[in-house]
Subunit: 174 residues, 2 copies
């Protein structure tokens, strides 16, 4: 399968509801615990997704599609959520993510991107030239990456409880 | 966090709706492709979850709680879905999984399990003695394992499309 804008949107538009279905009204033990050390909890990950909606995907798309000479992206702050989520409940974060995502998908659709647009480039701080198509593919995979990460963080809360089955459960070995 | 029956049910009861939200009416390219070779597609994984509802978790619980002398579990067939899902649509499989899971949770709740019940043992074909508590923990983690696996299988359909970002997306390296 190769990149398709409509198939990417199929994932992007489902992610908020997937996360709401997984996490809303579940015990905080599942959502506030992490994998130990500096790792992230489900709560932290939702904050990270919100920050991405605000500062990463759409702003970078706008840079790529702009007439500017300098198409260098801003660095993305991977730790912004620790400050920005403060005082907010998980339900508030899930609602905020859903609302930002809806607006971003509307904005994405409003661009009526052509194949030529998808081949336009921006400058990533680490990788150099990347295309809009690669950016939108990454946005899509990034959602799936964090759904998998949330599943793993939650699964690890039972790492010792499964006893010898730990051997069969790949998610507990990652 | 240690095993809790009610917290386990929080995961078990959400999984069918999580999978329906992720997969229902999405393009078959996302759900019928696998990770290459003998790996499983999302469609295959839903069939595997159905087979687990029918032959694994609840039947094994019943063996543990029974008065039988021989508490050895039947071997679980990890490939049954390739035969049993034949001719069924993904939506049919998702509905079947949801309905089986609902009945199994009702049955689980009807047992009104005590701490003594949770410490009862059965004999696993590979591991030997395991407790009911370990079986129910594994059922829970098994759900999360397959949600993560489905996310990974879907993400991999874009492995080349993300370009240099492959380096930052852990899910594409698993």
């Amino acid at each position: 399968m190769n990149f398709s804008l409509s198939k990417s949107i199929e994932i992007l538009e489902r992610t908020p509801d997937v996360l709401i279905t997984m996490l809303q009204n579940i015990s905080p033990d599942w959502t506030s615990n992490n994998e130990g050390g500096e790792t992230w909890s489900a709560y932290d990950i939702i904050g990270h997704l919100i920050h991405g909606e605000k500062t990463d995907w759409i702003p970078r798309m706008e840079i790529i599609l702009s007439d500017k000479q300098d198409k260098k992206f801003e660095l993305f702050d991977r730790f912004a959520q620790f400050e920005q989520s403060k005082g907010k409940s998980l339900i508030q974060l899930l609602d905020e993510f859903k609302s930002l995502r809806q607006k971003n998908i509307e904005l994405l659709c409003s661009k009526k991107l052509t194949d030529k647009d998808l081949a336009e480039i921006g400058i990533h701080p680490a990788f150099g030239e990347i295309t809009l198509c690669q950016l939108l593919s990454t946005w899509t995979v990034h959602d799936l990456n964090h759904i998998a990460q949330i599943s793993r963080v939650m699964a690890k809360q039972y790492k010792t409880d499964v006893g010898p089955w730990v051997e069969y459960l790949r998610i507990l070995q990652l």
